[in-house]
Symmetry: D2
Subunit: 263 residues, 4 copies
């Protein structure tokens, strides 16, 4: 499906402050960025670089006063996510070098502390895809989705204890449980069609049978029509806007709609 | 100036063939990609990766039949290129690691064979910016710009001999001469406002006093309003479309216009 | 001083298990690896790769039975660490791209939660080197060094609370406090001459005035004669031996001695 | 076989000059660096970095006067090179991203000009390994190996014409012919046991059936017991010592011997 998606961020900036944005999606497996319109008001110099995870980042100095960032995208996306029940586990010795970092614990994903839980959840699953699906399904049924129950410092260990959180907490828990059974897992942030209420979204990917698969523990049957904006070890790596200074986000708007073939 | 630029490539494809495109500019020093519309017809899966020079490349299989690629850009560009007469040469021992590769000879830039010419041209110039400007100015006055006098296999040594060529030959010669006096130099391809006749363009950059500067030997007074699309050692690295199979480019259209602030 | 250093790891391996080692130091600022002898017994195939932080890693399958790894090094090291009181803070907008990741919180360095403490400690310090030295000195005087008081899951937030730990905890706390005031900081593991009792060691580096400086909160006056083996965000990235399977480390020996110029 | 190998370079340096060395082999498929001793006299600061091809490079300023570099290695090597008659060609669309650069023409490998010759040589060969072996064998029988017939500027096109050269010319021609039929090929420099007369050596690798294979056109039956020191597009990338200034190489010694298991 062709999606029309984007977001608008409106800031009040009391004094010029450095900002790093990560709002520009890349074309890749399952998504093709047909068009992109990226506006910054007032217009100021921006430098773009690629971070260690391959994300395109924009560095700039937010000027004093009102500051607006808007990105609009038209992206061809896959209507279904790929699934592969039974796909086999990749033994660590056969993993590609660049997936090994996604086995390590990270800020919000203390996989070193969740091994017992993971073993329990995946006890009867076949090694590989079915283990990750068991983890995803366990989170989906045992953790309550509720706004305002977690914050920017909540990590997977806390979510495992409290069994409540939002999409990023669900992803952090899923990632941690995968890593603790030696399955590389990474954080994804992006857009999802028909999300209710509409917002930016987070989910995770696990490396199975030679490729990355999409998992989303917030949905009973994870839907397709997703736009990946950034990858990372966890939320620490994929903040779509990181500000180094005082700035107030006054308004944020996110939209994801079907783009009718005409028009 | 805000530029509206882009190109359209129309191919006839007798049998499915792999293609690598390099058409998506990055935002960076002196350019901000406000909007981009990238269309491929018929619509097919595309994978994007970053090449060793940081260029965004798109891999795809061109399907049999008529195949069209179109990219439209709106880019804020600098009206003037930065110049820095007198800016000092960076001794090799102080060059950043990642500039060292741009001292090496490459396919079209046999800097190992052009040292004597470079020494002659830059004899009276101050080391650094003024040397490169002497090289640029020498090429601009001594080499004749003429279509159809060179081809895809023409290299800097031949251009130095024949003193005739097109923009890519001018750039290759400039790059080679810089490298032979230990100034890192790289190829740039992109768009230039008011180019006559309109086409894609090539020029070069040299690393002086801690940063890259733009040089264009095809113009008496190099203008600004340029959109960089790709960087590389020479033309071998920055082909905007590389086809691995028989395909006929039936039509190619390039445009670069001022984008009026309204509309 | 020329150091003769190294370590020996002796494992019992019940069943073949994948291992990633990070034992090969690189030559760099302040250290030159004169000689290295790296032995694995029994001899087995090893693949080497470079991780995202530039560390050389060795991948192998530890065979069943007794398994020994030994590395011996002769390294020329600087007798003193560089210090730079008064060296200025680099504003975030001027930081090199590749240092930005060292501003982010990580597994053991929850810099997002230690801002208040950092502000307090550095209140009267000049921005830059003096802030980091204030942090280092605060840890050195306020945190008790004691073996057995922390473990592999202890993070900076806990160390800030309990005020007790070992070298890696001291480093994690130092790193977290630096990051929380927007100074990039990274973990270092390696060898230190005259460490008592002899063991592998951990310290940290902070990015100030355009380069990385060494800080070690475990010593009143941090000494030189250090061999850096690996860099990372925190201990999660720089485990010198990561095993993915059951293996018992039966014996570990570390040595660092002055290498007499003769012999 | 365990090899004891190394080289010694003795320079006279009239004035301090920057040098980049590429003498430190990496452990990898088919080779394990057991020990390495790397000496520079007089002792001076050296910085190590990894070039775009993964080679470890050492940067230094050669001091005025006599300057000596010596590296001694003990390396476990494979007694035989892997061969795979019949192994299939990888279609360009299935090549890993990082092999694509080894399809491009380069300074000494003008693959864009040797397509006709390659087609002729490989006419009856199965796509893949057998094509490369046909190329290797053609070079081995049709090109005369003779010292002093080529120099540092000789490229594959000239070797194809003159049919005479040394190991690096043989490699350049092999690489060019492979690339012209869309098989990624790269230059290798290193040591070869029993080379006559003893010297550093050059050969090439081609990417077939998902991995790199070793080819050496200077030998009727390419032997094993090779130590890879560096990889690159061609000789421009893999100079083991690049000097940026006047220095005289007074003496060069290379040795490769079997290391008896004892001693």
């Amino acid at each position: 499906m062709k999606l029309f998606a984007g977001c608008e961020l409106l800031y009040q900036v009391p004094a010029p402050a450095p900002v790093v944005l990560m709002l520009r999606p890349r074309s890749g497996a399952g998504q093709w960025v047909i068009s992109e319109e990226y506006q910054i008001e007032p217009s100021i110099p921006v430098i773009e670089y690629t971070d260690p995870y391959g994300n395109l980042c924009q560095r700039l100095m937010a000027p004093e006063g009102q500051f607006k960032i808007q990105i609009s995208l038209v992206v061809e996306t896959a209507d279904e996510i790929d699934t592969a029940p039974g796909a086999p586990f990749v033994p660590v010795q056969d993993l590609p070098d660049d997936t090994l970092q996604f086995l390590l614990p990270s800020r919000y994903c203390q996989s070193d502390r969740l091994g017992a839980l993971a073993a329990e959840i995946t006890e009867t699953a076949l090694p590989g895809y079915d283990q990750v699906e068991a983890i995803r399904s366990w989170i989906q049924t045992r953790v309550t989705y509720q706004y305002g129950t977690s914050d920017a410092s909540t990590s997977a260990v806390e979510t495992a204890e409290k069994r409540i959180g939002v999409c990023r907490d669900f992803a952090h828990l899923g990632i941690s449980l995968c890593r603790s059974i030696n399955i590389p897992a990474r954080m994804v942030v992006g857009y999802l069609h028909l999300l209710e209420p509409m917002d930016l979204h987070a989910w995770f990917e696990a490396f199975i049978d030679g490729r990355w698969y999409t998992f989303d523990a917030t949905q009973k049957e994870p839907r397709g029509n997703r736009i990946v904006v950034a990858y990372g070890r966890d939320a620490a790596d994929v903040a779509l806007a990181t500000q180094y200074g005082a700035m107030t986000l006054e308004e944020m708007r996110v939209w994801v709609e079907e783009k009718k073939t005409d028009a």
